[in-house]
């Protein structure tokens, strides 16, 4: 289809600007003005509406198709959250009203949302306090590591490394590196979890902490978690919990009780806010008592008179990591979700997420290699190694699924599994949907033997076939030059 720029017609208008009711008082001299107009398209409102509606037809979303993208928790997002987040009282509020005048009297409703959401998340994580500021999971990781660094600085600890298992999300080592730490990677054992003997050798006085995802990216809960915590705490290191996979254990176990010191959550995953085609998200960070003083400012507080305000007087703070309070609109949607689910609803979330994943695992393990045949949590990871013998790769399986109407799982991740297929169904999918997906996966396993050519040629049902990524990188075209 055409680009919006290719639909431009000279002199066509979208919106008409308001007629000015003030005199044209031009204080901007020509030398401070742009000499050529920004070459934006000239299109009408209907052109724009048709263009973007056509683009939506070229997309898969949770609302259109089953979307078992591993580690991304593509659960259903309640519509009421969208309606309430659009209320003018929330959407129209200037963030400076949280600080002034009268120290936030005009933003009491929004401050209360942030405060109340934090209290719920404290209980869910077992942490002493959280900051809502981080704007995505990886931003939460960086915030958590900066908090860790501030703790070690405060204690005059000389720390230079972070330990990260080889099965971790790529953001973990990347966050450690941009925060200035060297990364020590620790391998997984044959059971798919961190190799405790290798870890023991890696723990030195230089270690600032360890970042762990549990259940990990293989969907496995780490049985040695207490031992891992003891090892790290033994050198005054801090235990960091990557909350990307919290959906698996919510209401069943809490990072705080396991011995973790810092936790980040991905509200857009566990707490059902729309993923937006790649964001926005929110990545609140929780910490134990001894780290509370280091959290970013401002901190939302409830005063003795019951009103809400900001505390910026925190001498040990790492400072602000957002201009204001973080992605308020996302925290608000998660707060709505939490209120609707309540205590019982949250326990049903993890139960059904885990049940759905194990159901898929058991039904498919005859057809695909299962690198670790054990109880999984919210996701299961297969390998396409068996299909490789017929020249079929994880990529071909993914493309075949598209033609059968499913969004593929995450592929080639985690890196510890050859030809990985990482499937996370989430709790919001029905048995009927899972059965249809299982049937599609079995069909593809059979095609891998009987008709590999069709899989190599997939997808055939989409608006474009497989795209030439090498050419895209070689002949870079990242901006329209018509």
């Amino acid at each position: 289809m055409k680009l919006i720029f290719e639909k431009s017609v000279p002199h066509r208008r979208g919106v008409r600007s308001a007629r000015s009711d003030v005199p044209a008082k031009n204080n901007i001299k020509p030398g401070l003005r742009r000499d050529q107009d920004a070459d934006l398209p000239e299109v009408g409102e209907l052109d724009v509406v048709r263009h973007f509606t056509e683009l939506t037809r070229r997309n898969f979303g949770v609302d259109t198709n089953f979307y078992p993208l591993g580690s991304c928790t593509m659960k259903y997002n309640p519509k009421t959250s969208e309606r309430l987040a659009a209320l003018d009282g929330f959407a129209g509020l200037h963030p400076l009203l949280g600080q002034m005048p009268y120290a936030g009297v005009g933003a009491q409703g929004s401050l209360e949302v942030l405060y109340a959401a934090e209290l719920l998340l404290r209980e869910i994580t077992g942490m002493a306090a959280l900051t809502m500021q981080p704007m995505a999971g990886a931003h939460g990781e960086l915030t958590g590591i900066l908090t860790m660094a501030a703790y070690h600085r405060d204690k005059n600890n000389k720390k230079s490394t972070l330990i990260i298992p080889d099965s971790s999300h790529g953001t973990n080592p990347a966050s450690a590196a941009v925060a200035g730490y060297d990364v020590v990677a620790v391998p997984s054992d044959q059971n798919g979890v961190i190799d405790i003997e290798a870890l023991r050798k890696a723990v030195t006085d230089e270690v600032a902490g360890l970042m762990l995802t549990s259940p990990n990216t293989l969907g496995l809960f780490n049985p040695h978690i207490k031992e891992v915590c003891d090892l790290i705490h033994g050198v005054d290191g801090l235990m960091y919990y990557d909350g990307a996979n919290l959906n698996a254990i919510i209401g069943k176990a809490r990072p705080g009780d396991m011995g973790f010191d810092i936790v980040h959550l991905n509200l857009h995953k566990t707490f059902a806010t729309p993923h937006g085609g790649g964001g926005p998200g929110a990545g609140p960070v929780g910490v134990v008592d001894k780290l509370v003083d280091f959290l970013p400012v401002p901190v939302i507080i409830k005063k003795s008179d019951g009103t809400f305000g900001l505390d910026i007087n925190r001498p040990k703070t790492i400072g602000p990591i957002t201009p204001f309070y973080g992605n308020f609109g996302i925290v608000l949607r998660s707060y709505i979700y939490l209120l609707m689910l309540g205590q019982e609803g949250l326990e049903r979330v993890s139960e059904n997420a885990v049940l759905n994943a194990n159901y898929i695992k058991e039904k498919l393990k005859k057809y695909y290699d299962l690198p670790v045949d054990a109880l999984c949590k919210h996701e299961c990871v297969f390998s396409a190694a068996r299909q490789n013998q017929n020249g079929i790769h994880a990529l071909d399986i993914a493309k075949g699924l598209i033609d059968l109407g499913f969004h593929p799982p995450t592929i080639y991740f985690p890196l510890t599994v050859k030809e990985a297929l990482m499937i996370e169904p989430t709790e919001t999918e029905s048995k009927e949907t899972l059965d249809a997906f299982i049937e599609a996966m079995i069909t593809i396993a059979q095609m891998a033997q009987s008709d590999p050519e069709t899989l190599h040629a997939a997808p055939q049902t989409t608006v474009v076939g497989r795209l030439d990524e090498t050419a895209a990188a070689r002949n870079l075209n990242v901006s329209y030059c018509g």
Binding site: V15, P23, L40, T80, D88, G89, H94, A272
Partner: protein, 443 residues
């Protein structure tokens, strides 16, 4: 149970199929680590939640007439923006790892990148970062990587909110941050040049600056380039409908807050960080980038390209840790810019500038009120000096229904009596006149 489709009989059937009980599904969590149930309220109905949230929303003063700015503005958003981004094929999708079924998202990212390049006069933009502050932080990191130097020079007319954020984010790195004090609301050219040397990775400037003042940084670009340092400019994107572009000034990296392009104020987020650069630096840029290519049949399509820069491939060697960004907000800004078009963006920008100039004239005609920075041209925001404390005036104006103010004195100690005023196209002459009368009355 809300949002769970499987009925109890279905759950039972599935458990039987896998030969486990619900309790056994969690048997891998050691008993001593199991929690005994969360101490949370029971769930509420959709109606109850709506009533509760409506009560909270009503406690917010979003109906105050807004003269607040500081980088975040009360612009008009056409209805078609929310109608289109509210289509769930966009908002319930995720990162387009599978391009064949994500052409909607990918083409939109490519068009967004093209819009940002056209607004800023740069060659390449990424798909977005979190906000204007983190965009500036990423630009600083890019400049360090490119130059292998660690000294960054800010003029303090760059938003203090963003300077504080950059300092927080880089606190654990061997980085030297210099801040030169502005001269009368303009950048301190002598101070900046005195600091600029062979150790400098980048000079960071903002246009319009935090006081609303506008400038041409071409001379600073030339000076920075002479020392093989980069010029980073943080810009207010809507102003680029009429203002000289950072690209035309010779900037190497342009960043900014995209909230002005069709995003609600939403109490601080989600917003949109944009970052754009010249072609030689594209491989140093963080984040997702969409590129054009084709399939075997020659049909045009779009993919995520240059992914070898990113964390999911390069892990600790990546250009940044960013993964999830602000895709839906970038889409909002794209739809907004399409609706405005070539003429509309000029008109909206000029309308704001005209209304700000009118407001400036009205306010400075009040006895005791004067413009803080004489002869300094501004876009849609300016600073006035009052005979009394600005905080007190801010509170009295709030009581009269006006939202105004920015904590200037927290960052510039001699500005306790100074008030920052922003005026967008939404403010009517009548609102401006009543605002001026209210200010006169409270002084």
């Amino acid at each position: 149970m809300p949002f769970i489709l499987n009925t109890e009989p279905q759950q039972k059937e599935m458990l039987e199929a896998i030969g486990l009980t619900m309790e056994q599904l969690f048997a891998d969590i050691p008993a001593e680590l199991r929690c005994k149930g969360l101490d949370l309220p029971a769930g509420f109905s959709e109606l109850q939640v709506q009533q509760h949230l409506e009560e909270l929303a009503a406690k917010n003063a979003s109906d105050s007439i807004c003269f607040m700015g500081g980088g975040f503005y009360d612009h008009f958003i056409p209805a078609a923006v929310s109608a289109l981004i509210g289509r769930s094929e966009f908002y319930t999708a995720y990162t387009p790892y599978q391009p064949e079924l994500s052409q909607g998202t990918l083409q939109a990212i490519y068009e967004y990148q093209s819009m940002i390049c056209r607004l800023t006069d740069m060659d390449a933009s990424n798909a977005s970062v979190y906000d204007g502050g983190t965009a500036l932080y990423e630009a600083v990191m890019m400049a360090r990587r490119h130059t292998n130097r660690d000294k960054i020079i800010f003029d303090d007319s760059v938003s203090p909110l963003y300077r504080e954020m950059v300092k927080s984010h880089t606190r654990n790195l061997p980085i030297e941050i210099i801040e030169t004090p502005n001269r009368n609301g303009r950048i301190n050219r002598e101070g900046l040049l005195a600091q600029l040397d062979e150790q400098t990775a980048a000079v960071v400037l903002q246009n319009p600056n935090v006081f609303g003042g506008i400038d041409d940084f071409s001379d600073m670009a030339a000076a920075a380039h002479e020392k093989k340092a980069l010029l980073i400019v943080s810009a207010y994107p809507l102003s680029l409908g009429i203002l000289k572009t950072p690209g035309a000034m010779g900037a190497d990296i342009v960043t900014g807050e995209g909230q002005s392009l069709g995003l609600p104020l939403s109490f601080g987020g989600p917003y949109l960080g944009f970052i754009a650069t010249k072609m030689p630096y594209i491989r140093k840029m963080p984040g997702r980038i969409a590129g054009q290519t084709s399939d075997a049949r020659g049909r045009r399509g779009f993919v995520l390209t240059l992914q070898a820069r990113e964390q999911h491939i390069r892990r600790n060697k990546a250009t940044s840790n960013i993964c999830t960004n602000e895709a839906l907000c970038a889409l909002s800004s794209l739809v907004y810019l399409c609706l405005l078009g070539k003429e509309g963006i000029k008109e909206v920008a000029q309308l704001g500038a005209d209304k700000a100039a009118y407001t400036f004239e009205r306010l400075t005609s009040i006895s005791g009120v004067q413009g803080r920075f004489k002869e300094q041209p501004f876009f849609n925001e300016f600073v006035i000096d009052l005979p009394v404390s600005a905080d007190a005036v801010t509170e009295k104006l709030y009581d009269k229904g006006f939202a105004v103010g920015f904590p200037l004195s927290c960052f510039y100690p001699d500005m306790a009596n100074s008030l920052l005023i922003a005026v967008t196209e939404k403010r009517t002459k009548q609102q401006i006149d009543s605002f001026a009368q209210a200010l006169e009355a409270v002084l």
